[in-house]
Symmetry: C2
Subunit: 402 residues, 2 copies
């Protein structure tokens, strides 16, 4: 069986995702679809709108065969670390291809750029460092360095979010010498509009979340029926759809009871930032308010949100250091599978070099501790006894099967 | 002016406290009454039912002339440290007397016992150590050691909570060679019943809090009018009267996101206790539930509640170490004063060797940081913008004047 790998957040799963799965399967001629999905906290440094379990169900009901968790230590990171973790899991699961959405929609520039940068690595790294020292954010530094080095022909616009992720997937494949062939599918709205059937039914996950949280617009036309039902059930059972404001009191509490030393030990807290954080939290009356007070040119919004996530989960530099220099995941946490996914897992089982975890109690690793802590933090906002119940679920839930 | 010192919590101020002030003034022939009062967290390791500001108002409206704060580092401690901190403040304020309530009601046994124990100090300390090693709690060890050493004549029942506090006040006076004369007034219900006017109007603070929180019984007959009004205003303005269950989600969150190392760094967390805490918090659905799971013969309920308070405020062993071996307060935080209190402060001002703080921004000390943190934690349970407002109040409120 040929397995296609996808790197996803499904926050929530929508028609664009469904389109991507369908097209990717056609393109790669895969028999089975494996998604490595972020857990309860996402790359932009925010809580997922519904839990990883519900998002797993959505994925399985819409064509994914196997859902595994991208550990917190990779899921809440800049593109490079995120991609290294995700690719290492897909490689460990013997995927023959990885297909990502990108603004460009053609794979060859991604390959050329990576080959080109391997040749010019030293110059490239030095330029990035120079730009960061001059006070711009990491993504801007990367784009500028790249522009200065490359000529017209090799041009790939690395200021676009999906191009940059794609660039890092390909880079990770090269770096890990993975047996994975990269593919890409254009994912601009223009790209989607070419397909008659998707045209009135595609919206970004951001706009879908906005509509869901504000209750202003129906979302039925933009998501599969399974998504709609799962979101409804979640809100009914848990009383809410998660967003940062729900966690603000915990963030404020943590910051205001931490010493400067503790705060500085948190992952991504750089020299001087701890004073800025402490100064602004006292006045802030909500998360959005806090972020606006915190924001400077030097740090992107996303970077600061990730930082807040690490404070919220109390993730320290030391705890994150267990990702190691290779940035490859030491385990694969199974969240759910279809009949076909289970069969596939059976065929590769004997060749797996990384443990596949379907029950938390069977494996221990400092990075898995972070996943558990993130999950507990995510569930902390529920009232008792729902809080305790969902926390125990994290240990007791077997992988979802459909 | 002769100043009488009292060590109080006023949680809340009731008729028994009023009786104690009146009798103490008669007994000591004092002109002015100074109360050193615990802040927002109390000796039994629980949040005060209303803030220190409201409790200060109650005290001033019922006959106290000067209210100063017993710092968190002393207020949430076993009797010995609590007493050392309190006595050091009363001594610094030039009180000529300290009058405490006790089950015994006679001062001479308190003096004799202290003199006696100074003579037998080594034996006494060794016996206490032996008892603790055998697995009993600190208060039990103290009582047993004392019983084994003393003869009938010197007998003072140190298993009674107010006797033991009184014993430590006197001990602290001896230790600090303070110019304070100790007095005591009997405070059993029998003692109160002898006074015709108080008989149907006295109830313990515990039973008053219980009636307040359950809303089952009116409390008007047990408290001065000022207390009743202040409690009503507080509940109206802040929407609640504080108790531990309000803080349980923060306690659970802190424990579940702390590493074992962090937990072990918390003040009063002993070897092995961190595992017991961690194991029980996942299942616990409320504070009472958690405490019942945590309780063993070795630790008193109060000791464990104090421990939970330190976890809640994230107070570390290192932070507490600033109380130093002398256990004397390095500052005096002024909470409120009457006209007379202000005059008294004027007369002693030039002889003060410890700074008197009426504005937080004017003084810095690691122990004052703990008071601020405790206050922020106390206010954390309010919704925004009330939360931010009360937090800023801590910095902005000048001492209350009546």
């Amino acid at each position: 069986m040929k397995a296609l790998g996808l790197v996803v957040e499904y926050n929530p799963f929508h028609n664009g995702h469904f389109y991507h799965i369908t097209e990717s399967k056609k393109e790669t001629k895969a028999d089975v679809v494996i998604a490595v999905m972020s857990g309860n906290f996402l790359q932009r440094g925010e809580p997922a709108i519904v839990s990883k379990w519900t998002r797993t169900k959505m994925a399985l009901q819409s064509g994914v065969d196997l859902v595994v968790e991208l550990p917190y230590a990779f899921a809440t990171q800049k593109a490079e670390t995120f991609a290294n973790g995700a690719v290492s899991i897909l490689e460990a699961l013997h995927c023959h291809s990885l297909c990502f959405g990108s603004e460009l929609g053609e794979i060859s520039p991604f390959l050329h750029v990576n080959e080109f940068l391997i040749q010019k690595k030293e110059q490239y790294d030095m330029l990035i460092k120079q730009h960061i020292t001059s006070g711009v954010s990491y993504p801007s530094a990367l784009t500028s360095a790249f522009k200065e080095l490359s000529n017209e022909e090799e041009m790939l616009d690395l200021s676009l979010p999906n191009n940059i992720l794609g660039f890092h997937y390909v880079k990770a494949i090269y770096r890990q010498q993975a047996n994975i062939k990269p593919y890409t599918i254009k994912r601009t709205s223009a790209g989607f509009h070419e397909q008659a059937f998707v045209s009135p039914t595609i919206a970004s996950a951001t706009s879908i979340r906005k509509a869901l949280l504000s209750k202003e617009k129906p979302i039925t036309q933009y998501v599969p029926k399974a998504t709609f039902q799962n979101l409804g059930e979640y809100e009914q059972n848990y009383g809410l759809l998660h967003h940062w404001e729900h966690y603000f009191h915990l963030l404020k509490y943590t910051i205001m009871t931490m010493s400067n030393e503790d705060l500085f030990n948190i992952y991504e807290v750089e020299e001087g930032l701890e004073n800025r954080i402490r100064k602004n939290i006292l006045e802030a009356e909500g998360f959005q308010d806090f972020m606006e007070r915190l924001k400077t040119k030097r740090y992107t919004w996303t970077r600061l949100q990730r930082l807040c996530t690490h404070i919220l989960t109390r993730t320290t530099k030391k705890q994150m250091s267990y990702i190691g220099p290779n940035q490859e995941s030491p385990y694969i946490r199974l969240l759910g599978m279809s009949q076909l996914g289970q069969e596939y897992l059976g065929t590769v089982k004997k060749q797996l070099v990384v443990p596949v975890i379907s029950k938390l109690s069977t494996f221990q690793h400092p990075l898995l501790e972070l996943d558990i802590k993130a999950s507990h933090t995510y569930n902390m906002i529920f009232p008792e006894p729902l809080r305790s119940k969902t926390m125990k679920t994290e240990f007791a839930t077997p992988p979802i099967r459909i």
